[in-house]
């Protein structure tokens, strides 16, 4: 039905033309889900935008055929192309938080969309909208339809988005990372819904994702892209089970497995960006070994409760506080890695911040290495724990000061904690540490924006290590990264843990990653501990029903 032949998309710029997509061909039949998978920069979204005719200027289709049914999409006038959007091709975007107009009720948005494409009375459109919302799994649709987008949760909002894409009965829906912003439980429901719509309504889907687990779970056909070119294409089971192209093989190998633990990830050789770590940076290693880093600590938190002030709804009532953590206790033994998992809003990051001393708990005690660890407000600037506990943040794009050179970023812990007073020695040490995390030493004079996400995360690791930490907290350290880059960072963290025996708290919503990294696992749900157990035992036989549910919902390879 959709036939794309030799599609080439170019973006002219001052430095010549950049080819985002080159000679891509694919076909999608009615009722079929066609997955486009690849890492960032692979051109997945560009293909979707080209099909629906919404390429960001100055990008343009330079070559190729785009045919939907018997309509040549390239030969349409702008008005005709706009009339097809919604009526025959629709789109679902990644983030349901931002893809609905916040100022209009969902009723207005649904009716408006239907009336844009057919001659339908408002009441008939409303009746159909309610029916559609019910079908898609929104209960009490007749009442809920007058609500504004912000009154729906993330998963419900994505259902509304899907309803909006569906309300005009399109033949083709392009879903651009439709579940990336959602929790696993919600993701699984949304994916089921998409599969159902393809089967029952015979709608063709193009599913754009970076997550191979999602591809495996619902697609019929898959096209693997890299740098705007097709690496491999075919029926999903065939491509995933016996990948022919080396890139596909490497990509699959670098995806963390939920079903077993690997010692090291295979990193696609062609994407390895620098010399493998550990041969260089001997000075940095010696320096770390000379400090107290190799003398790991154990951490115990007991009955930690955190409450955040809620919004006041009435003059006469006190604002109700929101309990982010409810009497959470956890023990991390010295030299081990504790994985902390849970859905968004379960309090994972809050717990990490309480330990780091960024959030004040309203109740509870903490001990580090047997000594009491004061909570945020009582933990002074000079407290040793400010140095011994270090954190690696999720987003490497915002966790490095954009106006500081890498040398300044890395040197900071050294002078701040009085570890090295001599500027020249500091610089040498920073260079050695960069080598140890697998970066070129000349990076020291560059700015953060000159590096890719993976490189930046290496820098963040180096910064944390330069404080000679004894307890390292990694808060979703790889969730902003591509799988091959993720594999490298995880390898790096594993190596560091092996060599220095650091105690680590590894926070992630990605169970597969946690399995690869941790010795023990703690599961949080709505601010409470559901289960704590040995990692392997947890993944083979989870005790709590909630853990079983989480595991079964995670897409696997």
């Amino acid at each position: 039905m959709l036939d794309v032949q030799d599609l080439t998309v170019k973006f002219p710029s001052r430095h010549g033309e950049f080819t985002a997509v080159q000679d891509v061909s694919l076909r999608v039949a009615p009722g079929e889900i066609h997955g486009l998978v690849g890492e960032s920069g692979a051109g997945k979204s560009t293909i979707g935008a080209a099909v629906i005719g919404l390429l960001q200027p100055p990008g343009y289709v330079a070559n190729g055929r785009l045919v939907l049914g018997d309509t040549d999409l390239r030969s349409l006038t702008p008005d005709a192309a706009h009339a097809i959007r919604g009526a025959r091709i629709s789109m679902i975007f990644q983030d349901p938080q931002t893809s609905l107009n916040p100022l209009m009720t969902i009723e207005d948005q649904l009716i408006e969309t239907m009336q844009a494409h057919e001659d339908i009375t408002t009441s008939a459109a409303r009746a159909r909208a309610i029916e559609l919302l019910e079908e898609i799994g929104i209960r009490n649709a007749a009442d809920r339809i007058t609500a504004y987008p912000h009154q729906f949760s993330g998963g419900m909002r994505q259902r509304v988005v899907i309803a909006l894409a569906l309300c005009t009965n399109p033949e083709l829906i392009i879903a651009d990372e439709p579940t990336t912003a959602l929790d696993v439980a919600v993701q699984s429901k949304v994916l089921d819904l998409i599969r159902e719509l393809a089967d029952n309504r015979k709608i063709a889907f193009i599913l754009i994702t970076h997550d191979i687990g999602v591809i495996k779970q619902i697609t019929d056909q898959v096209t693997v892209l890299r740098g705007g070119r097709v690496m491999e294409a075919g029926p999903t089971p065939q491509v995933l089970d016996s990948p022919q192209h080396p890139y596909t093989q490497a990509l699959l190998a670098s995806v963390p497995r939920l079903d077993r633990k690997l010692d090291r990830f295979l990193v696609p050789s062609e994407v390895e960006e620098a010399a493998p770590p550990l041969v260089a940076g001997v000075d940095a290693e010696k320096w770390l070994l000379a400090g107290d880093t190799t003398n790991p600590v154990d951490l115990e938190v007991k009955d930690i409760t955190v409450k955040f002030a809620g919004q006041r709804t009435s003059l006469f009532r006190r604002a109700e506080s929101f309990t982010a953590l409810n009497s959470v206790s956890m023990q991390v033994a010295e030299g081990t890695v504790m994985g902390l998992v849970g859905e968004s809003g379960s309090g994972k990051s809050t717990l990490a911040k309480v330990i780091t001393g960024l959030v004040q708990p309203s109740n509870g005690t903490m001990t580090l290495d047997g000594a009491p660890l004061p909570p945020a407000r009582q933990r002074g600037r000079q407290d040793a724990a400010r140095r011994t506990i270090q954190m690696i943040f999720q987003d490497p794009y915002s966790s490095l000061n954009a106006r500081h050179r890498i040398g300044a970023v890395l040197g900071e812990p050294l002078w701040l904690y009085g570890l090295e007073d001599d500027a020249a020695k500091r610089r040498a040490l920073c260079a050695a540490m960069l080598e140890m995390v697998g970066m070129e030493p000349d990076a020291i004079d560059k700015y953060p924006h000159q590096f890719s996400g993976g490189q930046r995360q290496r820098i963040a690791v180096a910064r944390a290590l330069l404080a000679r930490p004894r307890f390292l907290i990694c808060d979703e350290p790889t969730s902003a990264l591509d799988v091959s880059i993720q594999a490298q960072i995880l390898n790096l963290l594993k190596d560091l843990q092996d060599r220095f025996g650091l105690t680590m708290l590894f926070v992630s919503h990605n169970l597969a990653v946690v399995r690869q990294m941790s010795d023990r696992v703690t599961v949080l749900q709505r601010g409470e501990v559901v289960e704590t157990s040995e990692s392997e035992a947890f993944f083979t036989a989870p005790a709590a029903p909630y853990s079983r549910e989480l595991l079964s919902l995670t897409p696997t390879l």
Partner: protein, 324 residues
């Protein structure tokens, strides 16, 4: 909602109290009121008696309480210069300034918002670039120069419009308005244009920047992908979202237009509060200056309150959350 209004009212109360304190300090401590009121030949005893009568020997806090009490009751004291009650002087001048400010604001909105939308939708077009260039020149020239240019062009060269003063006013129960006669309109146009140009540029650029940002947002892309007609896309989806922050700025601007119409009023000899304020400064007429300060602050507070209400009316996210 009620809570929000009450909170804002309480904040406004403290703002007004602070302003009253400033006005009082001005009144009490800048120069000696007694020597302002009396001549050189007044004897020391008479001065002391006057000081006593006026209550200037009372403790500071009593004086301040009396001052604010009088203000609240509408007793603004007497001008040193004209011996008239300040309240009456201000009341006489207020309509002129408010009408000038309102009309200037209307000009800036009626021209600025469509121009902003246009330049946002066709950012690279020749017309857009021309508009941007012209308004850049407009905002770079000081207000009084614009006023003088307008006077020269329309008043002197073309002789279409009067160059100064406020003519053709009609008295509507204490409020003299220019809006009811042709002469009134004619004398309003030039000062209002002068005052409005800067606001117009600001409004236009703000609308343009906001609109361009909104047009890049996901919900506009999604609406485009659903084939929502462009007219609705631009004027319903995009414009409403554009106006949320713009309203705040426009509100503040209106306060500013009224407060800082001093320059325009003096260029056009417009008998408004700005001109009154200038005259008061020239004659060190401190009671008038103090009351002017209070009135303008009150005006700002009211405008802000209205803006906050509008904000809630436009954006459902600010309304009290219903059970989701």
């Amino acid at each position: 909602m009620v809570y929000l209004i009450l909170k804002r009212l309480l904040q406004s109360f403290f703002v007004m109290l602070a302003v009253a304190f400033l006005a009082f300090s001005l009144f009490r401590f800048v120069g000696d009121p007694v020597s302002q009121m009396t001549g050189v030949e007044t004897s020391v005893e008479d001065r002391e008696r006057l000081r006593d009568e006026l209550g200037l020997n009372d403790p500071f806090i009593f004086q301040f309480a009396r001052f604010t009490g009088d203000l609240v009751q509408g007793d603004f004291g007497f001008s040193y210069r004209t011996r008239e009650p300040v309240g009456e002087m201000i009341a006489k001048r207020l309509p002129a300034t408010l009408e000038l400010g309102t009309f200037a604001l209307v000009i800036s909105l009626v021209v600025g918002i469509p121009a902003g939308i246009y330049t946002a939708l066709r950012p690279r077009g020749f017309v857009s670039q021309s508009i941007l260039l012209v308004t850049l020149v407009g905002v770079s020239i000081p207000t009084f120069v614009i006023g003088i240019i307008l006077i020269f062009l329309f008043g002197v060269q073309l002789a279409w419009l009067p160059t100064f003063g406020r003519n053709g006013t009609v008295d509507l129960g204490g409020w003299s308005t220019s809006f009811l006669t042709l002469d009134g309109w004619r004398s309003l146009i030039l000062p209002a244009m002068t005052l409005g140009v800067y606001q117009l540029t600001l409004t236009m650029r703000l609308v343009r920047a906001q609109m361009m940002e909104v047009l890049r947002s996901d919900y506009i892309r999604f609406a485009t992908a659903r084939g929502v007609p462009y007219r609705q896309l631009y004027f319903k989806h995009a414009l409403a979202n554009t106006m949320v922050p713009v309203i705040t700025i426009i509100g503040l601007q209106f306060g500013g237009v009224v407060a800082f119409s001093i320059v325009t009023e003096s260029v056009f000899q417009w008998p408004g509060m700005g001109l009154l304020f200038l005259e008061s400064i020239r004659f060190v007429d401190i009671p008038v200056m103090g009351v002017y300060l209070v009135v303008i602050a009150f005006f700002f507070v009211i405008v802000n309150l209205v803006v906050d209400m509008l904000y809630v009316a436009i954006d459902p996210r600010l309304r009290v959350k219903e059970a989701a």
